[in-house]
Amino acid sequence: MRSCERVEELKKGGQRTAYKAVHPEHGLVVIKHTQYQSPKTLERVSREAELLRSLDCPCIPTLYEFMVDPSRREALTIEEYIPGDELQARKADYKSERQIIGLLRALANCMQVPWAKRVVHRDLKPSNILITSDGRPHVIDFGIARFLDKESLTNTVAMMGPGTAMYAAPEQLENRKTEVDARTDFFALGIIALELHLGRHPFSPEAVGGDSIPANIVSGRYLGPETKEGTTQAFVTLIRRLLQVEPYLRFRTPAALSAYLQTHWGCDL
């Protein structure tokens, strides 16, 4: 970090702080500094690093460096900085069905590489989606990405697994870890798409009653896309499948999701 210039703090939370800086070799970067107490934290950070290094995808930040200082219990990753706006700030660009589908298609393409390596993001949400100036979405913060082939780190006793509750799938909220796979990310994409479509969070108590967003997610209670005039049946069916409480009723594979998008909206998005 000492070799970097113009370091400014981006985000601070829990054990980790993220900085934006100018790296002499790589240019604009994001530096994530983690102070860890337990080996599990180190393993989590190492995992993220291993993941990013293995992915070769233009819409996921490239990992440049990963360093660990065991004596100080610190870990540092330096990854590509994605200059863009969070999706929330650009929601005006995604009002029509075709625009939303275009975003979905691009996100699904983005996630093809990690999904093919059996990696689930588990925390897809508007603040983890950056739209660059050319309109391309990028997916960031694989901090809690789950390697399906490796043993999970999260506490099996926890009632709610890590992940933001507002965009979490029922299997995450109920900590059914063996059921977390790419379809968990599909659920999050469904919420994101529907929120853009309706202009409000579809699972919020203000929209549909109930006690809370997580409670509504678990019970499958949400404001349907058909409540907005002019919604096509294809879009209704898409959302219905993405937001099924049980993973087995959603699209089974990324290819199945892409095929559905292709069939109903063609390839010109």
């Binding site: 059921e179 069916t237 499948r241 049980e246 993973p247 087995y248 009723l249 594979t253 199945a256």
Partner: protein, 382 residues
């Protein structure tokens, strides 16, 4: 198996065979004509891996053959080798699919699915990759009654199956222990339809095994194939068939399949029908075997091949003439059930009183199951 092969070849019944290693030596399977193997399914039958019953021991990849005195802890150690040999056998034999077996458990511990993954499924998936086969892969799944009828357990099973993106389909066995010959549990039948539907929604191939006439009912959910089991013990799954400690039981009564009644009718009622019901022969349909069987001097017993060859012939025809699309098929099956119930009514009017295994009492649950299934589809709205 000889009758099955004969029926398949000479009567052109069915679309393929399901090979049972319990009944057929390995060398015999290998000697089958390649044309038959290519459209057939090999069921590895690892249900009771310690079993050495029947001809299982002729297969070197069968766990108990590989490791005599097999303990559960040995299973995981040897499964890697068993899996590779078993997959290679299926690929080299050019069967239509590579079938991943399953293990039968009486009770389901909470980590049952995880155990299956560790002990059998993962080693077999690894073996498929290692062998480099491009044949479609079917996963054998035994769905116990509780998993079929209880929605939470059914969901867990379906999530497990559909979460495996390296399988192409399921060899589905729906276990229903019962005292009657036919399933009469409408909830079970509806659950079975929901499972088949969910698997098809996931674009998985579905081959239903060990079914009886309810295969006709299951067809409304669109499976790719249903089985035609020769003997009674092949028309309902039971692990007892593989259990070496089981004492051989008495042969069942001879029965004959009636496509009009959607039921196997016990011989004890066939003579009563001959006596009191005019046109009785038409209830059983036409096959090359009816003229022999319906002669008064035919010696009825449950080992007569004509009974089963007749069944293959008429059931195969029934399945082949099922309508498409599925909505049309359901209407057709409903009509078949109504017609059968009408026949049972006239049979009773004629003074014939069959017992609960020949009286059509399994058919009202079919109606209940279809109604339940339709409500489910409507709720899903997919």
């Amino acid at each position: 198996m000889r009758w099955n092969i004969d029926s398949f070849q000479s009567d052109q019944v069915g679309d393929g065979l399901i090979i049972s290693p319990l009944n057929c030596k390995a060398e015999r399977v290998e000697a089958l004509p390649v044309g038959i193997r290519r459209c057939s399914i090999f069921d590895p039958q690892f249900y009771l891996p310690k079993s050495q019953k029947g001809k299982l021991a002729t297969y070197p990849f069968f766990p108990a053959t590989r490791c005599e005195g097999l303990a559960t802890s040995d299973l995981e150690k040897i499964m890697e080798h068993c899996a590779e040999e078993c997959v290679r056998f299926q690929v080299d034999s050019d069967f239509e699919y590579v079938v991943i077996p399953t293990r039968y458990l009486d009770a389901l511990p909470s980590n049952y699915l995880q155990q299956l993954d560790e002990q059998i499924v993962n080693p077999f998936l690894e073996a498929v990759r290692a062998v480099g086969s491009d044949k479609p892969v079917l996963l054998t799944v035994i769905a116990k009654a509780i998993q079929v009828t209880d929605s939470d357990q059914r969901d867990a099973l379906l999530n497990w199956i559909t979460g495996k993106d390296d399988i192409d389909g399921v060899y589905l066995i729906l276990e229903n222990a019962r005292l009657t010959k036919q399933i009469k549990d409408a909830d079970f039948l509806a659950g079975a339809l929901k499972i088949i539907h969910a698997l098809k929604l996931n674009d998985l191939r579905v081959v239903v095994g060990y079914n009886s006439t309810e295969g006709i009912l299951y067809s409304i959910a669109g499976p790719d194939a249903v089985a035609m089991g020769c003997f009674e013990n092949l028309r309902a799954f039971s692990s007892r068939r593989f259990d070496t400690t089981r004492i051989h039981s008495r042969s069942p009564q001879p029965r004959l399949y009636s496509p009009k009644l959607l039921q196997w009718i016990e011989y004890a009622y066939i003579e009563a029908l001959r006596e009191r019901y005019s046109g009785w022969e038409s209830l059983f349909g036409e096959s090359p075997y009816t003229s022999l069987m319906f002669r008064p001097d035919f010696a009825w017993n449950s080992r007569r091949p004509e009974l089963y060859r007749h069944y293959f012939f008429v059931f195969s025809d029934q399945v082949r003439t099922l309508a498409d699309p599925l909505s049309e098929r359901q209407r057709q099956v409903e009509a078949m059930v109504d017609e059968a119930l009408g026949f049972f009514d006239t049979i009773q009017q004629a003074g014939i009183y069959p017992d609960e295994d020949s009286d059509g009492s399994h058919l009202p649950p079919w109606i209940g199951a279809m109604e339940n299934y339709n409500r489910h589809l409507k709720e899903l709205g997919l």
